[in-house]
Subunit: 334 residues, 4 copies
């Protein structure tokens, strides 16, 4: 469903072309300082307007409806929304009956028996990630001393990303990419065995980001071709520092105090300018479909800040499970 | 924590060298026929004894303590256990103070402040997956008409797996592998948007299997080098059949009625026979460590049945969320 | 935390004097018809303005931010808010340092280390029940054929309620009451053993309504003085009809098809006009406190619609667990 | 479902006449000392054998299958079971088709479509509370300095309980009672607003104890006849001490540092020796039913220790949410 986390619990709501998108953060410690400027940078990173991302321009400034008072979190649930202003719903008239290949149009139509809001992907739109970024700002504040750094390391199979974008634009097509996330300064000992391991928590959050189709930790898929004696990271001191980091900073699902590192693959945006075929859901006829609307050539460009945010959400929840809402809060109180 | 699933909820418990390992399945429909033979095949697939897997031989037959009566599930929680009989705890005396590189020894020691059961990896042992396989048998029965088929597609970087094992054995080392899972016959429409998407549900379960460090759905990491016009799967009829399956059978986190397909990477077992270095947790001295005990050359050989099981658990839960405990049950009642 | 329900999941947010109060309903079936008029009657029942309730007049009309499209639920989370317009925060200046006896002022101050929004009780205000009533409208629609009827059956120890109010007003004091809730037309078989029994689900929801301090099902506390042969309800036909209803329609935590009946006690509102003593949180000095603001003589008057709503939420969740989101939805689709 | 608690999570399983009953405790801090004698007293209080309780004598000694090592909790899930030895299933042959009035026989038959284990009430038996008492021992240890004291304060409407039992035995009937629970030494600030308030948490647990039909906190139902100026507890010092305790130690769902006090009503056991009528589920014929088996005259006698246990479970979970698994653990580590 639309909530993530066990105690530090984030819920998102909204549709691409509905009145607003929003987020509720429950279980957030009281006493965390909040100012409007705290969100500017992260939201700008997520927003469109750069080369390779959509031209749709929402101001995206969060309006806080609850949970913040006199510049601090209160301990009550925080709800923030942003209105959808710049929508051109008529762009989506044709997809009501012709599901766009690669999109959730068909599955949403089927699952919700025709009642889903189809405009701009409705609830399945990447616009819903706005709430993840806003919530992520609170999560980052709960992990002082921890830094999150995600970056696009390849696109369209190339490391020269600008080149890849230029080529795709010329073809009127879209391309995928790989984003790597590195987290430094995490305490060792976070994560619960089995179903709330660090990998489980992060991956279940990460697959909520539209277009992500794979994740690998540390050496990842390359581990398949390694020997145990190569893959094992030698422990070099009593604090658990390791000489290599093939485990990506996680053993047995628990942080080991080294850098947390993982990569995700972002598929090419489904909304390509290239003509495709689809089926008319009323008549069953196969027909050509041109997807209108403003779309990203390389959606992976937007993913780094979202990936950092989701990772922070997962880790903040694990921190609270280990140390409690009040302990974490105390770090801000003093 | 140690429970998986929202309504169809599976909890595992036990330690490698404790009295028993076990599993509780809650939210299972009443009226599912159960006989001892139902578990034989899947447990045999998980168990050691074949080339490349450990020689430890547990009979592994499940003893049902609750939830089964007169050959059918009752609707009450099902608990099954199997005793640990063939343990040689003395093999692990040296790791109490010298954490094995690549294992959970160090993180468990730290997280549980020295109280963890360290013998054979304790609660972090692969032996805990016994419960997943037992629970998976119930989940499979809840999805009649659905078939799960996972297989090891490469090991140590080679497709000739026997060859890879032979080479690793000669070196006294261990190797990793890649396992692919294909699920046919799933209804379209399973999965909930965002945090309970099919990818989220499966991946959070899959990372509970020790040694798994990555997962990719459909085209997976290869999507990074694809164009949207290539990656999009053209819909060819009104039932949602697609000409290609780069999405792996999932759009927007929801099954689309095509084959569900994903791959995982299994790292080489950390318990290699090759001498390594570690730290003495009392003195801080770095010293050589030889890992005793009986271990697998290629643990990935055991993963297919576990992967199928966890996938079935995730999908059975999504099925119940969509159709209810009683609806699912009704399929067995008639 | 601020969410209720397992699959049909309701989250409330807001503060009495913050920008807005609101509610998110997740796990609601698609295809339920919604029109603005659906909320008028229930919200009017909850709202002040009648004899015995506060004079604060909020229009309270829900603004839907998500989850409703073209007059139907979409299957995505539904968020509704209402702005707080008619607030006089200055009424609460003195309670910042002097907690009102009987209120959450002291515990909130302590728990949130001074960061709680104290104005009008902040997040602990009865105003938060607005979201429960809005969500309850959806829950009622999911249970067609089921009727909810709660009524105030005594106040201030009297059955003549108008008389009790008049007397209390003369004394400038507040009074408590007892509200009884009866639910007809429920199917038998709802409820899960132990921790999601009908009694557990309803009571955990009901104690979220401020001022409720007790609940009893069927014969309730009177059962302590009964004999088993009196208390047992004789079954009179194969559908489970019983001659008496001392069990309140529930056996073993599961509905038995008879009327569900329970009663709650509503304490007198803490905000009495009578002068009280409290402690200054800065100086520790005990001093007299007069509570300003507009308050209810008999808050129990507002409780019936909220009690019906919470009961509907609990039962709709149990219905979905038993029959699935889609099954329930199907009742609306046809 | 069969799990209670959010982070400190207790799951019970078993049937009255199945192989065993048991409990799993997940989220329990590592380092809590455990010895077999820790359970003797509480289990003896729960067990039959005293006047007014059943003659069925199970040894009831817990066998720990996991989570305890070298006399301490390990941080991994703790599973304990006890075998059912002294069962006379033939006593229950007649209830397979004739549901006992007041029992879960009818609702379980219906809900589980005939597959429920009907012997001795199956999963709905009071025997399942064994696990709650065992888990409660761990919860009590997590709250050092806190004392739990529940006692039967009336039975069959009388305060002279021995007299009430004697009279009921003579009539071959059963009687109900009222149990009061008082908790001293709790820190202020436990409990989360709304759906995880102290009242919500305790009541949802308490209604898992078979035969409990009502709960009231502090002044409880008597509050209906009180004025606000009477009911409000004057705060007498800066630590929040109050002169009276009508709130039962809870304001706004959060502990205020005073004694926590509540009462529950226990209905008379349904299994009375008096002849009753029921319906034959195959033929629909109404016929007399005599309930065989060994039963309690006054089941409320067993309730105090169970009530204390469930209360401890609820409070330990709230403690962990507030302070974390590790913080709580640390209290034992030092």
């Amino acid at each position: 469903m639309n909530s993530f986390g066990k105690v530090f619990r984030v819920s998102i709501f909204g549709e691409s072309h509905g009145p607003a998108v929003g987020v509720t953060v429950d279980g957030c410690p009281a006493g965390i300082p909040v100012s409007p400027g705290d969100f500017t940078n992260e939201l700008a990173r997520r927003r469109g307007g750069r080369q390779g991302t959509t031209e749709r321009a929402e101001e995206d400034i969060p309006e806080f409806l609850s949970g913040v008072f006199n510049g601090f979190t209160t301990g009550a649930p925080i709800t923030a929304i942003t209105r959808n202003r710049d929508t051109r719903s008529s762009d989506y008239d044709n997809i009501k009956l012709m599901p766009r290949p690669g999109h959730a149009d068909f599955t949403a139509h089927l699952k919700y028996r025709g009642y889903a809001d189809y405009r701009g992907g409705g609830h399945f739109s990447g616009r819903l990630t706005w709430g993840l970024v806003v919530a992520g700002v609170f999560a980052r504040k709960m992990l002082p001393g921890t830094t999150f750094r995600a970056e696009l390391i390849s696109a369209g199979g190339k490391e020269d990303i600008e080149d890849a974008i230029a080529e795709a634009k010329k073809a009127g097509d879209t391309i995928g990419g790989i984003v790597e996330c590195r987290v430094d300064g995490l305490p060792a000992g976070l994560g619960e065995p089995f179903f709330l391991s660090v990998e489980s928590a992060i991956s279940s959050g990460v697959f909520s980001i539209p277009a992500i189709k794979g994740i690998e930790f540390g050496a990842g898929f390359a581990a398949a071709a390694m020997k145990g004696s190569q893959h094992n990271d030698p422990i070099t001191d009593i604090s658990g520092t390791t000489a290599t980091n093939n485990s990506g900073g996680i053993n047995g699902g628990i942080t080991n105090g080294n850098q947390l590192v993982f990569r995700v693959v972002v598929k090419p945006a489904s909304s390509t300018g290239v003509m495709q075929k689809s089926v008319d859901l009323e008549t069953g006829v196969i027909a050509p479909l041109t997807v209108k609307g403003r779309h990203d050539t390389l959606i992976a460009l937007r993913v780094p800040v979202i990936l950092e945010s989701v990772t922070a959400l997962a880790l903040a929840d694990l921190m609270i499970i280990d140390r409690g809402i009040n302990f974490s809060a105390a770090r801000w109180h003093e």
